[in-house]
Symmetry: C2
Subunit: 150 residues, 2 copies
C-alpha cells in the first residue's frame, strides 16, 4: 500500500491533519480502486457505553471521503501530492450516513471509500464502515470543488 | 430557560456527557417548542483554516438531535429527567446534513432542533445551525427508539 496521503500533504484539519496536535489523525491510502482508512478510536470516543459515538464515526467518514475526492482528482489529472496541493480543494456539501449496527469501541474501524460520480462542481463519494469484517455504517458525501484559496 | 438537560441526566457520551472529561460537553435546553444549544468550538476544531470542521458540526448536531428526541418523549409522557432516564433510549439511525456556508471558528454555533415526526419506533428530528444569525447548516436525523439496556 502507498504512503498515507495525510503524511504527504500535511494539513491542520481536526479530523485528518498531521499538523493538528489535538486531532483524530486519520490516515487514508489507496487499496486498488478504493481509498482505505483503518482507525482506532480512543476509549473516550464513546456514545452509549461500549460503542463508538456516532459523531466520531461521521467525523472519520467526512474526512476520509474528502480525501477520496481529492485523491481521485489527483489520479485523473496526474497530479502528485508530493508537489503540494492541487489547484482545487474539496469541501463537504452534504453528508448522509446510515448507522446499521453499533460499532464496539475496541478494535479498529475500517473505512472503504470510492468516487461514485464526478460532476463539473461536485464529486459524490460512497463509503462503507466495517468493524471485525461486519458492515456497520454506509455513507454518501457530496464534495464540492472550489479553487484553492477561494 | 430551563437547566440544560445534560446537567440533569449525566452520561458518558463524547458529544454531550458531563461524565466524559475529554468530550465536547454540549448543553441543550428547551426554548419554547425548540431545543436550543449554544456551543463554542475550540480553536483546534478546524477543518480548513479559520472554519469549523464538518465532522465536529455533525457531532454537535448528532447529540443535540438525540436529546431533542429524548426531551420530546419526556414532555409527551410526563417523565422528568430528575427521576433518571426514561424507559426508552434513542440511538442515531441516520443523519443527513447539508452544509450551506462555512462556519467561522470564532464565536458560538447556535443549534435549534425540533421533532418533525414521531413514529412507533422512529422519531425524525430537524435541526438548523446558525452562526452570527446566519443559517449555515440544516440537518435531519432519524432517532431509533430502543428499550433501555437492550
Amino acid at each position: 500500500m502507498d504512503r498515507p496521503l495525510q503524511d504527504v500533504l500535511k494539513v491542520h484539519c481536526y479530523g485528518c491533519g498531521a499538523l493538528n496536535p489535538h486531532g483524530l489523525h486519520i490516515k487514508s491510502s489507496w487499496d486498488g480502486e478504493e481509498l482505505l482508512c483503518c482507525w482506532q478510536p480512543e476509549p473516550y470516543h464513546i456514545g452509549h457505553p461500549g460503542y463508538v459515538y456516532g459523531g466520531t464515526i461521521a467525523s472519520v467518514v467526512d474526512c476520509h471521503c474528502i480525501w477520496t475526492a481529492l485523491a481521485q482528482h489527483c489520479r485523473e489529472t496526474g497530479h502528485s501530492l508530493q508537489e503540494g496541493p492541487p489547484a482545487v480543494m474539496f469541501v463537504t456539501g452534504s453528508l448522509q450516513i446510515n448507522y446499521l449496527k453499533p460499532i464496539p469501541i475496541d478494535g479498529e474501524m475500517v473505512l472503504r471509500a470510492r468516487v461514485l460520480e464526478t460532476g463539473e462542481r461536485k464529486t459524490i463519494v460512497g463509503c462503507r464502515v466495517f468493524h471485525s469484517g461486519i458492515e456497520c455504517a454506509v455513507a454518501e458525501l457530496v464534495a464540492v470543488r472550489a479553487k484553492l484559496g477561494s
